[in-house]
């Protein structure tokens, strides 16, 4: 089984609103999977179903080859977007409690927590009340709570919101490390730059429907516009009938920049040859669509951050 998680034809209906309509996804083992979509698209509904917080009206969820069941709770770690901890409880006690709810014994939980407290250098926090910690510190504690029971599937809903850049980097490194250990991370976000940076696979949900999914590179390939950009000196009004110059504009430092579209079956070398004949080329490259572009194109609106 190559997929840690599969959802088949999930439908979730709330009173007069259908939150998920026939959503099927597969999340390969050991990848970072970006779950994208505008607000209210149904991401949280899907995540809640995977966490067994709610049940779908129809369809099924398969975790590592088995139909989702209560024993899977231990194998999933969940960091909700709306996060929080018991404010009046000590950090150590609270983490022990949450770990035990996930099925660890107190002794196991203690051992795992010690490692994390050393790793994050937060040993002095153990006896502090959560309310005495700063927001960033609380987020760190919450991250520990999510991963301490070593789940195979980690679901992070907007994991970087509320972190300063230093802590965000720390968490980013942790996510990559967990992936390298063979864990799978699903992460739901609006922030396309972190998707660009971290995700191996993505799925895009819009208005309760899955509109797009697959490996990030494949999707980028799919959204390629077959345009190239060139910076040059000289004039480039007409090229050849095969290559259309879309637009030209001056750059800040006195060069010109042009976008050129080529037919799907044309060779890029041919274009370069044409260019070399006409202008002094400074740089040349393919226009790869950013995740942001893809998001806008697929959803038809700008992602809100």
């Amino acid at each position: 089984m190559n997929n840690i998680l599969e959802t088949h034809h999930i439908i979730k209906q709330y009173a007069e609103h259908r939150a998920l309509d026939d959503v099927s996804l597969s999340v390969p083992k050991g990848c970072i999977f970006g779950l994208l979509g505008p607000n209210g698209a149904g991401k949280t509904s899907l995540i809640r179903i995977i966490n067994q917080i709610t049940a779908p009206d129809s369809g099924e969820v398969i975790l590592d080859g088995e139909r989702l069941n209560p024993n899977h709770i231990r194998r999933i770690g969940y960091l909700p977007e709306e996060r929080g901890l018991y404010k009046k409880m000590k950090v150590g006690e609270q983490l022990l409690y949450l770990a035990q709810l996930k099925g660890l014994t107190e002794k196991q939980a203690m051992e795992k927590l010690k490692i994390w407290f050393v790793k994050f250098d937060i040993k002095t926090w153990w006896t502090k009340n959560v309310e005495d910690l700063s927001k960033g510190m609380q987020q760190k504690v919450q991250f520990v709570a999510t991963v301490m029971h070593e789940p195979d599937l980690i679901i992070l809903d907007e994991p970087f919101s509320g972190f300063d850049p230093i802590n965000a980097n720390l968490i980013k490194d942790e996510i990559l490390e967990l992936r390298d250990k063979g864990k799978t991370i699903i992460f739901s976000t609006h922030r396309m730059e972190s998707v660009e940076e971290l995700c191996d696979n993505i799925a895009l949900i819009n208005r309760s429907h899955k509109v797009l999914d697959g490996p990030k590179q494949a999707i980028k390939e799919q959204f390629k516009t077959h345009t190239y950009h060139v910076e040059y000196q000289g004039t480039l009004d007409t090229l050849s009938p095969a290559f259309a110059v879309l637009k030209t504009r001056p750059t800040d430092d006195g060069f010109m920049r042009a976008d050129i579209k080529i037919p799907p079956d044309a060779a890029v070398n041919e274009l370069i040859r044409h260019l070399l004949d006409r202008v002094a080329v400074r740089s040349f490259g393919e226009n790869i669509p950013s995740m942001n572009d893809i998001f806008i194109q697929a959803v038809g609106e700008v992602p809100t951050t």
């Binding site: 917080i53 996060r83 018991y86 035990q100 709810l101 996930k102």
Partner: protein
């Protein structure tokens, strides 16, 4: 099952370790005991306090004033001038002077005192002298002491309840006190612990931790764990109160009874030296202490039944209401929104207190019967009826209905709870709530 135990443990430990819990647990019995102690102390201290010398020139009032808990009269054979001189030395609080011609001119009686005399004492003395003069005048008119005594009929009915165990000495006042106390305690504790459940649920919701928790446990387990945890806190508090109160009472009554005994023996010694002292003393020992009277009456009540029923009805009533309070906590976003939902929940329990007042007066009436069957009012009303005696089948039926009642409210609350805890920023109406009940998983 293991997870629900973990939740119960956390809910319990967090609350029991709170300062407010510890303070309330200690303060409760101290307040009760303190109240008791003040009454006891006042009773004891007053025995030594008022010593009154009676200088009686008429010779008619010697040993005619009755000694009681507050006052001790003595009759020195001195003239007024001599008595005034020895007044301070002898440690008298007041000196009553009765002139020879008191019967003809009753207004010539004088009371001397170092400080001003209390109105109560003054009126006591006036009443005693007035009564005596009345008796003397009646006798002079030819009516004998015996006729006067016969005319004073003292009616002090003892209530005796007839039960299978035969006649038992009983005391209506004690029963009323106990039943009222139990009902009030149930009312207060259901409200206090019910709101604690509501606050706990709201805390989890507003802290946003609830989503983390219910990714590990079922919402129903979380709700039930909280309800049971808080119930155990309540029971712990009651147990500690009972233990502490009994402890304090035992220690306290020893401390109080000691000076009382010495005072009585001192008094007895002094009275032995006086004519008529023996008689007064024997009267005193037969006179009953009203507190002891009530205590004795309480002992005749079926205490084990009352205590076990109290615990059952506390638990039942609490479970019934706390589930509803929990549902309210889940439905709202903040404290101010709770008001509209609290009201319909509070209505029946407030009504129960009103019904309880009727039930005290008529414990077997139809209103008392029906309200002690309906689960929403039965915890309070039934507790009122139990000390008066309730047929076994009525008790069994009421208990069964209460169990059904809280199973029902818990089911209903769980349906609202699981939707409510994940619903943010939405102003909820009753219509909305009723929709939640029918949502699927």
């Amino acid at each position: 099952m293991n997870t629900i135990f973990l939740i119960i443990k956390r809910e319990y430990m967090v609350r029991v370790r709170k300062k407010s819990f510890i303070i309330m647990t200690i303060l409760g019995p101290v307040l009760i005991f303190g109240f008791y102690a003040i009454i006891g102390w006042a009773a004891v201290s007053s025995i030594n306090q008022k010593k009154i010398a009676v200088v009686d020139e008429s010779g008619r009032f010697v040993n005619q004033f009755k000694n009681d808990d507050e006052t001790l009269y003595s009759y020195p054979k001195q003239s007024l001038a001599e008595a005034k001189k020895s007044f301070v030395k002898e440690g008298y609080n007041a000196l009553v002077f009765i002139p020879k011609d008191v019967i003809e001119q009753p207004k010539t009686v004088k009371i001397f005192a170092e400080k001003s005399v209390s109105l109560a004492l003054q009126s006591n003395i006036e009443r005693a002298i007035g009564k005596e003069i009345e008796t003397i005048k009646l006798e002079e008119a030819g009516i004998t002491q015996k006729v006067i005594q016969d005319a004073k009929v003292n009616v002090d009915a003892q209530t005796i309840s007839l039960s299978d165990e035969g006649e038992k000495n009983n005391n209506g006042i004690a029963t009323t006190i106990i039943s009222g106390f139990c009902a009030l305690l149930i009312y207060i504790s259901v409200l206090i612990y019910g709101t604690q459940v509501m606050r706990g649920v709201m805390e989890e919701k507003t802290n946003r931790i609830v989503e983390v928790i219910i990714s590990s446990v079922k919402p129903f387990q979380l709700m039930l764990g909280k309800i049971i945890g808080v119930a155990l806190v309540g029971l712990t508090q009651f147990m500690l109160w009972i233990v502490l109160t009994i402890g304090l009472m035992t220690i306290g009554s020893k401390i109080i009874s000691q000076p009382k005994e010495t005072a009585q023996t001192q008094m007895a010694a002094r009275m032995n030296g006086m004519p008529g002292g023996q008689e007064v003393q024997s009267k005193m020992s037969t006179a009953k202490n009203p507190v002891a009277d009530v205590m004795a009456a309480i002992e005749t009540l079926p205490l084990t039944l009352i205590v076990s029923c109290f615990l059952f009805y506390f638990l039942g009533g609490y479970l019934l209401y706390s589930a509803l309070f929990g549902a309210v906590g889940a439905a709202v976003d903040n404290e101010t929104e709770t008001q509209q939902f609290m009201f319909p929940i509070m209505m029946p329990i407030i009504a129960a207190i009103a019904f309880a007042q009727i039930a005290v007066r008529d414990p077997d009436g139809p209103l008392a019967f029906w309200t002690s069957m309906i689960p929403f009012t039965s915890p309070v009303v039934m507790m009122v009826r139990i000390p008066f005696g309730v047929p076994a089948w009525e008790l069994a039926l009421s208990m069964a209905l209460l169990v059904l009642g809280f199973v029902g409210t818990t089911w209903l609350a769980a349906r609202i709870y699981r939707v409510g805890i994940l619903m943010y920023g939405k102003k909820v109406t009753f219509r909305e709530l009723s929709k939640w009940v029918f949502y699927k998983g």
